[in-house]
Assembly symmetry: C4
Homo-oligomer: 217 residues x 4
């Protein structure tokens, strides 16, 4: 198996273990103070994302996100066949990461979230969160690719707080978080709305680049 | 439309979405603990500012602040016509960012703040905050321009805490924050005092450089 | 005495003073909020680790961890004799650091922890924590060695939260923390399980590299 | 007046405004949670120190600390006459910074602290804090001077938590903090013990380098 697929699988798994695990730890220790739980959750996620992108970036690009893999393929930065393999690795890794977090915290392995996250405000938040993430990645890759790990880590840390959805911005993360009924969960019924918003952003950004490229040629 | 004006509009809008949005999220979750709300607010703002300056800096200089744009024009680092366009983009972007934060958090779009921030201690705080910000930018641009994103992000994070005004230091931010009756708001009647202090600092710093340049020639 | 042994002794001692000391301070001030205590503990540990690795890295490599020293010797990156000296320095330094923390906080110098940390979930957490740490170090040394201080510091900060064991990942740290009955302690009876998991990871990672090297030749 | 003396005066003043100001803000907002107040205080101080050293380092070396200025003069890195001027600037700047913090927070300008910080555990903490700070500076200047701002900022952030004294490590800071009866204060009667410990470290480190230099020649 190609090392980049292993890197995408492991990286996305560790990302979910990070998000779900630190959510459980924060929630258990904070006993009711959601602000403190989210603070720990957001700081741990931002710090961990930095490390994951720094160490796995040289192997696979550290995309960990079907929205990113699709956009890069659309723009010609990678083949659709690579992107397809990445997306499979990301979805399976994300699910594996949730199971790992449950096992580490002695939770039931298989869970279904009951945390409803829906409505126009939530969907708008996902539009903003995903658009911001793709903007950060595109601009950073163009002007200062070496700063990508800290840019994405700090963006996500901030986006936990400035969007009402706590910024999923990632279809694989969204699906996997439906499988945990802990702090970071999202009810399955709320998943299509979130993924719809994320896909819409990819399509709009992709078309924008296509139109611009067309004008220039 | 020139890409640098779009960058100033979007950057200032996202800055306000960040400040107001993370203020709402912190305030809602912290239920009464203003320390925890301000901690989340300051960490998210610092992290987000780093990302905005890093990614939009190569496009427009990432000024996002009429005080900075005016000072740079005064010192001859950019034309007054560019500075004028930037200031228009900053004020309109700032207002758009507040509306975006309200929409993401399902708040009334149009609000007016009732949070009075006035008196000599608050105005002194704005003098210090603005003077510090301009000092950081001027010294950083001279000696290590590549560190500007982290310098400004960490300065603002710290200034939320060490000034009594939580450090607005930006006329566009001040005006826009009058339009939100949430954690980050400022009552319209308090706006002139804050902007007066900010403008005073720009004038003093500008005159200082002018006098020094005069002496040298 | 060779400077690198002194660096390993002092570095590991300060690491333990950092972990145990900030745990005591956090626990005393937070009066019952374990989330706040762990937040302070994890941020101080991450920040301090960055500084220790940055400043002592050029002297000894800043390993501070028998698991790391053994793996590097196994891979041929250093002699077993150096690794042996490092391990002695690390264990003695770790114990000295706990005593130093107790002295600074006017605690009984000699203590034995009563904090039981056992069971499959805790051991799995140590497998993940140690595997992650070794992965970060190996990948970072290969692709961007200059980023090692921030990578390890931020990894440990995050691992305090995303593993259920708060991530010891270090046999010298584990033994020494059995000698403190404060926030960071671990009951002696729980030590073998933790060290067993840590050693298991070193063996598996070492064999993996051996097999891969064998295939290539 | 030489720009480096102005930089030492302003930098030390802003350092004290940072320490005392964020202490007041944290204490007022946290209403009784000293952990939360110290968390804000330590994060703001670390972030602000980074910015001060980054921006004023190229002007004066950003010493802001009589212990550092004396040690550097002893080692021949600067003349005693420069060091003397720096020390005057640092003490006067430190006092000015406390007054500035009081003015910004509408506190009585002149205060005397009633916060007793004494006893062997506190003095040992100051020995460790000061020794660690000097070690960080000496090693960082030798091996990676460009990382000094983040090394010192993160060291102090961590030292607020891992020493029982919250790490003053600076005679000018110690004297000035006797002049505030707020969160960061120290009773005048406790000042000699702290400064004694700090001076002792400078003497021991200075003699160590002298002896080592003697052996080599």
């Amino acid at each position: 198996m190609k090392p980049e697929f292993i890197a995408e699988f492991c990286g996305t798994a560790l990302l979910l273990a990070l998000v779900v695990g630190s959510g459980i730890m924060g929630d258990r220790l904070a006993v009711g103070s959601d602000a403190l739980a989210l603070l720990a959750n957001s700081l741990a996620t931002g710090a961990g994302l930095y490390v994951l992108i720094l160490t796995l970036g040289p192997v696979s690009g550290a995309q960990f996100n079907p929205a990113v893999s699709a956009l890069l393929a659309w723009r010609g930065a990678q083949t659709w066949s690579i992107a397809g393999g990445y997306v499979v690795a990301q979805f399976s890794g994300a699910v594996a990461g949730v199971l790992l977090a449950h096992a580490m915290f002695a939770e039931e392995l298989l869970q279904v979230s009951t945390h409803v996250r829906a409505g126009p405000a939530q969907w708008l938040s996902e539009l903003v969160a995903t658009g911001g993430l793709l903007g950060v990645i595109v601009l950073c890759l163009r002007h200062q690719p070496a700063a990508l790990p800290q840019a994405v880590g700090l963006y996500i840390m901030a986006a936990y707080w400035f969007t009402a959805s706590t910024s999923f911005a990632n279809p694989a993360v969204t699906v996997a978080r439906a499988l945990t009924d802990t702090f970071a969960g999202i009810a399955p019924a709320s998943v299509p709305g979130f993924i719809g918003a994320q896909v819409l952003v990819v399509v709009v950004v992709g078309l924008f680049f296509k139109v611009r490229a067309g004008r220039r040629s």
